[in-house]
């Protein structure tokens, strides 16, 4: 059953259908909000409140956008509200420790450590970015939205989105180099690309 059908079912009074939408998008939205807010606990609050609001206002969803895009906008507003009264919370680091999960079968202890360290470095660098830049980067790289959608979500001109993304990437690259000058960004081997279209 696709999103449209689940929404129809939910509007007809089948709450389980909405539950399936929650299950489908909860972790994706939580990751995005965690990176934007810098706190897994705050992100969980925002995600829960966003789904509740989406459920209560589902009949106002006009379906001109994807459900997730609409949901994300609700979450972004909730995140702004929460950020104004932020409290001590579970850090990204704690979230990562909890979420990094058990080692893959066959992954060596050193491999797991390396994976954990890479993620830690990247998150530390991401957390240093100004929120505006971080949000644009999360929307593009983690959420995969195109510039037009990001511009719509953030209520910005496309040129500003492009500019923020550029600056966010450059700053992130610099921060990572500061953290570990011997490694390429994100600890990944970045072979020079051939001049082909992405």
């Amino acid at each position: 059953m696709n999103d449209e059908q689940l929404i129809d079912e939910a509007l007809a009074g089948n709450s389980a259908a909405f539950g399936r939408l929650v299950l489908k998008y909860q972790d994706r939205l939580h990751r995005a909000m965690t990176q934007i807010l810098g706190s897994a606990t705050d992100a969980e609050d925002v995600v829960q409140e966003s789904f509740v609001q989406a459920f209560l206002k589902l009949e106002t969803f006009r379906r001109s956008a994807l459900f997730y895009t609409w949901l994300y906008r609700i979450a972004a507003n909730a995140a702004c509200t929460l950020a104004r009264r932020r409290r001590p919370a579970r850090s990204v680091e704690q979230m990562r420790e909890a979420a990094i999960g058990p080692a893959d079968a066959g992954e060596s202890p050193s491999g797991r450590l390396e994976r954990t360290e890479r993620a830690a470095q990247l998150e530390a660098a991401l957390a240093r970015l100004p929120q505006d830049y971080r949000e644009a980067l999360v929307l593009r790289e983690m959420e995969g939205f195109d510039y037009g959608t990001i511009a719509s979500l953030l209520d910005l001109p496309i040129g500003t989105v492009r500019s923020r993304l550029f600056r966010a990437r450059m700053q992130l690259r610099e921060y990572l180099k500061e953290l570990d000058p011997s490694e390429p960004p994100a600890g990944l081997t970045a072979a020079p690309t051939s001049p082909t279209k992405p």
Partner: protein
């Protein structure tokens, strides 16, 4: 996509190229750069690796129970809006939900099924509630329920509990046990009907005396609003059976009555706002209490209010503050059962039953590998209406708004 007026720098152009957002002349320019300049290719590779790294960051796992938490919260909000709309007709919930009461009931029935499954499981303890109350608070559950006493360990898991919904209608008298437990504590649920609703759908498997441990703590508005307790419980794989908003009348009544109720052990400056019923095995509950104690900034003054006996009928109220000690098994009077049922419930709401006739059904002490705990969440309010905060004392003025 190009809406800019000034030419992009080479690096900015490569970023847009990476995102597939170039066309026409800009695309041609980017491709030329990449063909001619190794540094551009290196930058593009680094940016691509950066994106790969971001996408590889671990997803936080909210768990399969998260949708249920969302729906439960939405349901509470709907019920709350319905409650408000009664008093303020102009502020009604959306039309969709005004016509969807059956849906709300259906959602409620899910919780009801869980509750019945919990209370209908056999209880392993043959100790009297009075004996149970003697256990130390810190290890209350571990002492009261040694692990070895649970032959069917699997049945104590939340999933096992959830897998036992019942189907028969519940005798109305069973609808009121929890409400009585609350009123014994001097608390008044805001929506008593909602409690009846939950239990109504639960079945006549009817046990009906079930030990109910009661704990109280003081929380701030954020903790309430964001279900912080629920998250701690989830961390210990505990399930919230149900929760109800409580009215301030509970405090007022109890205090006016001489502060004899267990609830009145706490300062009257802390108003009860929420009752949260939790089921789980003793070890889980013990670990949860330890966890809550370690979060003393969020859950302040975590206090053991003793044990109550959850009955399936309107029970004669034991003396306030000693409910657990005075609870005892009563023989089941044949007619009193129906007499004590739902019709009487509204008028007894919030105050003890006055009849001398023992109304409690005896009820076999069931053996269950689960315990029920009722958390009473309180929020600070001004100490006394007679002593309002001084005008120049904003900190005091904020008391009661949950911003302490």
């Amino acid at each position: 996509m190009t809406d800019h007026q000034t030419p992009l720098s080479d690096d900015e152009l490569l970023c847009a190229y990476l995102d597939g957002e170039l066309a026409g002349d800009e695309l041609a320019r980017a491709e030329r750069l990449l063909a001619e300049q190794p540094a551009s290719r290196q930058l593009l590779a680094e940016l691509r690796a950066l994106g790969d790294g971001l996408r590889a960051l671990p997803l936080g796992q909210l768990g399969e129970g998260f949708p249920q938490r969302v729906l439960r919260k939405a349901e509470r909000q709907l019920l709350s809006e319905s409650h408000v709309s009664t008093a303020h007709p102009a502020d009604k919930p959306p039309a969709r939900w005004r016509n969807k009461r059956p849906w709300i009931y259906a959602a409620a029935s899910l919780a009801a099924g869980l509750l019945v499954a919990v209370v209908s499981l056999p209880h392993r303890s043959t100790k009297s509630p009075a004996a149970a109350a003697e256990h130390a608070a810190a290890d209350q559950f571990a002492h009261h329920a040694p692990e070895s006493a649970y032959p069917a360990a699997a049945a104590s898991s939340p999933s096992a509990l959830a897998a036992k919904p019942s189907s028969a209608p519940v005798p109305p008298e069973q609808q009121v046990g929890l409400q009585v437990a609350l009123t014994q504590l001097g608390l008044v649920p805001v929506d008593a009907k909602a409690i009846a609703l939950q239990l109504e759908l639960s079945e006549a498997q009817a046990p009906a005396t079930q030990p109910l441990a009661v704990w109280s703590c003081i929380v701030d508005a954020d903790t309430l609003e964001h279900d912080s307790l629920e998250r701690v419980l989830a961390r210990h794989e505990l399930r919230v059976v149900e929760q109800w908003p409580l009215s301030l009348e509970g405090t007022t009544t109890a205090d006016a009555a001489g502060a004899r109720s267990p609830a009145a052990k706490l300062s009257s400056s802390h108003a009860p706002v929420m009752a949260v019923l939790v089921a789980g095995d003793p070890q889980q509950l013990n670990a949860t209490l330890t966890d809550l104690r370690s979060r003393s900034g969020t859950f302040q003054q975590l206090t053991d209010l003793g044990r109550k006996s959850l009955r399936n009928t309107l029970a004669r109220e034991p003396a306030a503050g000693t409910g657990a000690a005075k609870s005892r098994e009563m023989p089941p009077p044949p007619q009193a059962k129906r007499e004590a049922a739902g019709d009487r419930q509204p008028e007894n709401q919030g105050r003890p039953e006055k009849s001398n006739a023992p109304r409690s059904r005896s009820i076999h002490n069931v053996q269950a590998p689960s315990e029920l705990v009722l958390f009473i969440l309180r929020r600070a309010v001004p100490v006394s209406p007679a002593s309002p905060p001084a005008p120049g004392n904003p900190a005091a003025a904020e008391q009661g708004t949950g911003k302490e």
